[in-house]
């Protein structure tokens, strides 16, 4: 934990897994650290949401699937009520 930010790889330059083929000037690292540190409370809140291993796994593709097959439209129902 560094700069109030929870989790590995953030806020601690020594822990940053910067690829060996990439050199990052210090001022850019500092700016990125500031950007990430400012989001620390939000990241902590996001990481605190339970996503249990057991049960149905929520995957990233669920979001697109939801758009493909949204819940029954209430707009249609409204139009029918209006008739």
């Amino acid at each position: 934990v560094a700069d109030g930010v929870v989790g590995p790889g953030i806020g601690s330059p020594a822990a940053w897994p910067v690829a060996p083929w990439r050199s990052l000037p210090g001022r850019h690292v500092d700016a990125a650290r500031a950007a990430q540190a400012s989001l620390g409370p939000g990241l902590a809140a996001m990481r605190a949401v339970p996503l249990p291993f057991l049960g149905t796994t929520v995957e990233p593709t669920h979001a697109l699937r939801w758009l493909d097959a949204p819940a029954p439209s209430t707009t249609t129902a409204t139009a029918e009520r209006g008739r």
Partner: protein, 485 residues
């Protein structure tokens, strides 16, 4: 009507005049180019004006109207944010890295507009890559107050519309970039459902959250433009074979009988008092039109900003990974975000992607109780510029998210349609109202927005610096530009 005042007309009024022969696309283009010449030195909305190309297109439109073969947007001038490819016309993304880029092909959305007869006039200002700082030439001025920010990143489109330089524009929206400037500049902008409008040829910020959408001065014009640009695109993996609705027809309703308007509580209610007052008054108008209201909880909304930021910086870094060794080629904000994204743990990125669906499931419950949601467009009016043109990023990204986009980002994360339109003034600056619908139900959102605009005059109020003709006073005491009624 003078040639200059033709530039004040909205899209519907232009089509009426073309149809009756009282104006031609060439005459309107002359007026638009004259307006740009007169005011854009001050407003700075345009980063490239394609006058010669536009003149040829307008002349072709003259012939089509004369021959009776006019298409839906025949002769309508428009501009597009400078991250959308336009064949043969520079597209720079507001960045030095591609400052000499001239695309060989039009973006799909541009091709659809041109095929519908619209006349491309100008490329419009954007902060670098729609996610960094604004370089010189991409720092437009809010027509309502030069001391206040335009919002971004579709800043050029919003200023061109509010400044009466153009009647129609195309913007993009990854975390509110159509709707923030629409709210701050007093114009109307739609972020459609994710995948509803094609993204081919639109420079990406985040492939998971990027949306393309129309901006105009009225909901009816936005609906007409959406009917042209919406549709499936096999080249865009976000595109879906979902039938289009009658968007224009949806805007002819003048009452909202039977429509249930949901008001998200808690997170969305935290806004400036004068913004809350204007939004409450707008909701009262909707009720007068026949709508009913219901409070709806969205417990995960407060996470949406972090979810969207995490996804956006990670994907932004991936998109620009080939250039991470040359960060000095980017503006400081873009460089900081690239590094932040490149060093973000994969687990955070994946968690953010997974949590999108958690929020979507809350929307299922919300939309079981209402047809649309209504929130403030932005929690405040446009913030004051001091001491630089970029005060928001200087405050850090959390400040940016909380001050600007807290009411907007959730709908990017969910992928649902969201419309922002003006609903009043506070301290002389526009206040925006946002209407959000279930996936693919742009028609429901447009219906509510159009009914509101039919009952009010907020969308016809012109910035004081842009008053060019005789004004009338509306019932609520607002100055109204007659030519855009």
């Amino acid at each position: 009507m003078t040639a200059g005042s033709l530039a004040d007309l909205d899209v519907a009024a232009l089509r009426d005049r073309y149809a009756t022969g009282s104006a031609t696309p060439s005459a309107v283009l002359d007026a638009v180019l004259a307006r740009i010449d007169a005011v854009d030195g001050e407003l700075g909305a345009c980063c490239h004006v394609a006058a010669d190309t536009a003149r040829r297109a307008a002349e072709a439109s003259d012939r089509r109207w004369h021959e009776g073969t006019a298409r839906p947007l025949e002769g309508v001038p428009f501009g597009v944010k400078d991250i959308v490819d336009t064949a043969g016309i520079p597209t720079t993304g507001g960045t030095l890295r591609w400052r000499d880029h001239v695309p060989a092909c039009d973006a799909t959305v541009i091709r659809r507009l041109l095929d519908a007869g619209a006349v491309l006039v100008a490329k419009l200002a954007t902060p670098e890559l729609a996610f960094g700082d604004a370089r010189p030439g991409h720092t437009p001025t809010n027509p309502w107050s030069a001391e206040h920010w335009t919002g971004g990143s579709s800043s050029g489109p919003a200023v061109a519309l509010a400044g009466r330089e153009l009647p129609l524009a195309v913007g993009t929206d990854t975390g509110g970039s159509i709707r923030v400037p629409a709210s701050y500049c007093g114009v109307t902008g739609l972020k459609p459902t994710f995948g509803r409008v094609q993204r081919g040829g639109v420079w990406p910020v985040s492939w998971t959250l990027d949306h393309t959408g129309p901006m105009a001065r009225t909901v009816a014009d936005v609906a007409l433009a959406l009917s042209v640009v919406a549709g499936e695109d096999p080249g865009d993996p976000a595109s879906r074979p979902v039938p289009l609705d009658d968007y224009v027809g949806a805007t002819t309703a003048t009452d909202l009988a039977g429509v249930r308007v949901g008001r998200p509580i808690d997170w969305f209610g935290e806004c400036d008092d004068d913004v809350a007052t204007a939004v409450d008054a707008a909701v009262a108008v909707l009720v007068d039109l026949g709508a009913t209201t219901v409070d709806v909880p969205l417990p995960s909304a407060h996470l949406a900003g972090t979810i969207a930021w995490t996804i956006t910086v990670a994907e932004f870094a991936s998109l620009h990974e080939d250039h991470l060794d040359d960060l000095d080629g980017y503006t400081p904000a873009a460089a900081a975000r690239l590094v932040a994204g490149a060093t973000l743990p994969a687990s955070d990125y994946l968690r953010a992607l997974r949590l999108r669906h958690v929020f979507q499931r809350e929307l299922d419950e919300a939309f079981a109780r209402c047809d649309v949601l209504v929130t403030p467009g932005t929690p405040t009016t446009a913030p004051r510029l001091a001491p630089t043109l970029d005060p928001i990023f200087a405050g850090g990204d959390v400040a940016w998210l909380e001050r600007i986009a807290r009411t907007l980002i959730p709908w990017n994360a969910a992928g649902v349609p969201a419309l922002v339109l003006p609903c009043g003034l506070a301290g002389g600056l526009p206040v925006g109202l946002q209407v959000v619908g279930p996936p693919w139900h742009e028609a429901a959102v447009l219906r509510v927005g159009a009914a509101f605009q039919a009952a009010t005059a907020h969308h016809r109020v012109v910035p004081p610096s842009r008053v060019v003709g005789p004004l009338t006073t509306s019932a609520d005491g607002l100055m109204v530009c007659p030519s855009v009624q």
